[in-house]
Amino acid sequence: MTIYSIIFYILALLILVSTGLAITRRNLVHAVIYLVFSFFGSALLFYLFGAPLLAVLEVIIYAGAIMILFLFIIMMVKVETSEERMFPLNQWLPAAVIGLLYLAIGALLVSSAPGKDIPLEMALTHPKEFGQYLFQRHWLSIEIVSLLLLIALIGALHLGRRKREEKIEEKP
């Protein structure tokens, strides 16, 4: 067991525990903080695997932007901590089915992957090479994703504007 695998297992434990805590806490702000810890763990994992660019992007986008927005909304609307209750059965069923399916696919992938016994060589990607790989081979997917984001942006703008116009009409 090398030092890298020891670090890997420590990080994996950190991610699992903090994600588990994030989905079980009743206090929403605490849940968000645990989720941030989980993202932090995944960022360190990316760094360990020799992908510093992905690690930094994970922190900037997920921990630094999206989670701040979550926190912002929670602080703005002041959600009371929800009371203890069991989720109704009809919500449990789909969650369980999808979870099991995911588990089965994961197990299948791990057991059937070719070359699963050959350890990968240690490598470090440079951001330039990563960018070239991404934009030369996967440009179509990037365009599709950015179109999706554009649609979401326009949708949000439309919803926001409609509300404002209604408010103006109500006033007089």
Binding site: V29, I33, V59, A63, I68, L71, M75
Partner: protein, 327 residues
């Protein structure tokens, strides 16, 4: 044997940078109080030592021996942790700032930077976006309406201006062809980037001042509306940590203005770290001058400047730079 020497060198570098940063932060407070006083035709601190030079030490002692109170209704753990987040994220940013090219000791080259990450610039952004947590959580955990309002304002302001901050530096990365701070400084060997990118410089400095929450962007701690904003409920050294974070942030800002636009440690005659120090102090003095000159923005003006002026200008700047680089 080699790795032991490596670790010793690293620890010495870390210690020097940390001590330097903390000392400079303490004396920046003194400089700010003196200079601001002069701008307002007062004397400023002049009782402790000659010219009030011992004032920062007296302040630090006072903060450390003061009682550290926690409000009864506060979220205890988050309340205690939030100031540390602010101070640590500001201090850690200095890990990628180069203080010179390298030093040769006993035939070994020692680079004058703690670590040269190949994503150094993005690392700085990652840390600056984590600094928001200190402000937002400090405000929320205090369980007071002034603190909460300050925290919400801080979070909104910092995520808005982070976009402009990031976009303003894209042309710099395009010129240097690298995210590494060392490479960016080396790319300015002939001329500093402020000559190539004056617009990026203006956008960067405005949004960086908003990031560090100083006048005219100090809405999260607007004294006459919110008490002291997100740190209203803090006392003793925990308040001191917020304060320290702010002054380290000023140095960070100075260092990054120097690194991205003024050629970093480069300069004639004087040794490299001295040049970096001069540039940091220069930027800090200009920021204090701005603080003494401008009033605070209104909240809607703040958001309008960020979203409707700085971000479009930065995007335009990227497109123009790209076009010029292609031709």
């Amino acid at each position: 044997m080699d790795w032991i020497i490596g670790i010793i060198v690293l620890i010495v570098k870390l210690g020097l940078v940390l001590v330097g940063l903390l000392l400079l932060a303490a004396y920046l407070v003194w400089v700010e109080r003196k200079f601001l006083a002069r701008l307002q035709i007062r004397y400023g601190p002049n009782r402790a030592g000659k010219f009030g030079l011992l004032q920062p030490i007296a302040d630090a002692l006072k903060l450390m021996v003061k009682e550290d109170t926690v409000p009864e209704a506060a979220d205890r753990i988050l309340f205690l942790l939030a100031p540390a987040v602010v101070a640590t994220s500001a201090l850690l940013m200095f890990a990628v700032v180069p203080f010179g090219s390298h030093l040769t000791l006993w035939g070994k080259k020692i680079p004058l930077v703690i670590t040269d990450l190949n994503v150094g610039l993005l690392y700085v952004f990652a840390l600056s976006s984590l600094g928001v947590y200190g402000v937002a959580l400090g405000g929320w955990a205090s369980n007071s309406k002034y603190s909460l309002l300050g925290g919400i304002r801080g979070a909104a302001q910092m995520i808005s201006y982070e976009l402009a901050l990031g976009l303003s530096l894209v042309p710099i990365v395009m010129h240097a062809g690298s995210f590494s701070i060392v490479d960016i400084v080396n790319a300015q060997a002939k001329y500093p980037f402020i000559l190539l990118q004056p617009f990026a410089f203006v956008i960067f400095i405005v949004s960086a001042m908003a990031e560090s929450k100083r006048i005219p962007f100090d809405l999260p701690e607007a004294e006459n509306e919110l008490g002291a904003g997100y740190h209203t409920e803090y006392s003793g050294m925990r308040f001191g940590l917020f304060f320290l974070g702010e002054y380290v942030h000023m140095q960070v800002l100075g260092a990054f203005v120097a690194v991205f636009f003024l050629g970093g440690w480069r300069g004639p005659l004087l040794p490299a770290p001295v040049w970096l120090f001069i540039k940091i102090i220069l930027v800090a003095l200009i920021m204090i001058w701005i603080r003494g000159t401008l009033p605070r923005l209104r909240y809607d003006q703040l958001m309008a400047v960020g979203w409707k002026v700085l971000i479009p200008a930065a995007l335009l700047n990227i497109m123009v730079t790209g076009a010029i680089l292609l031709i």
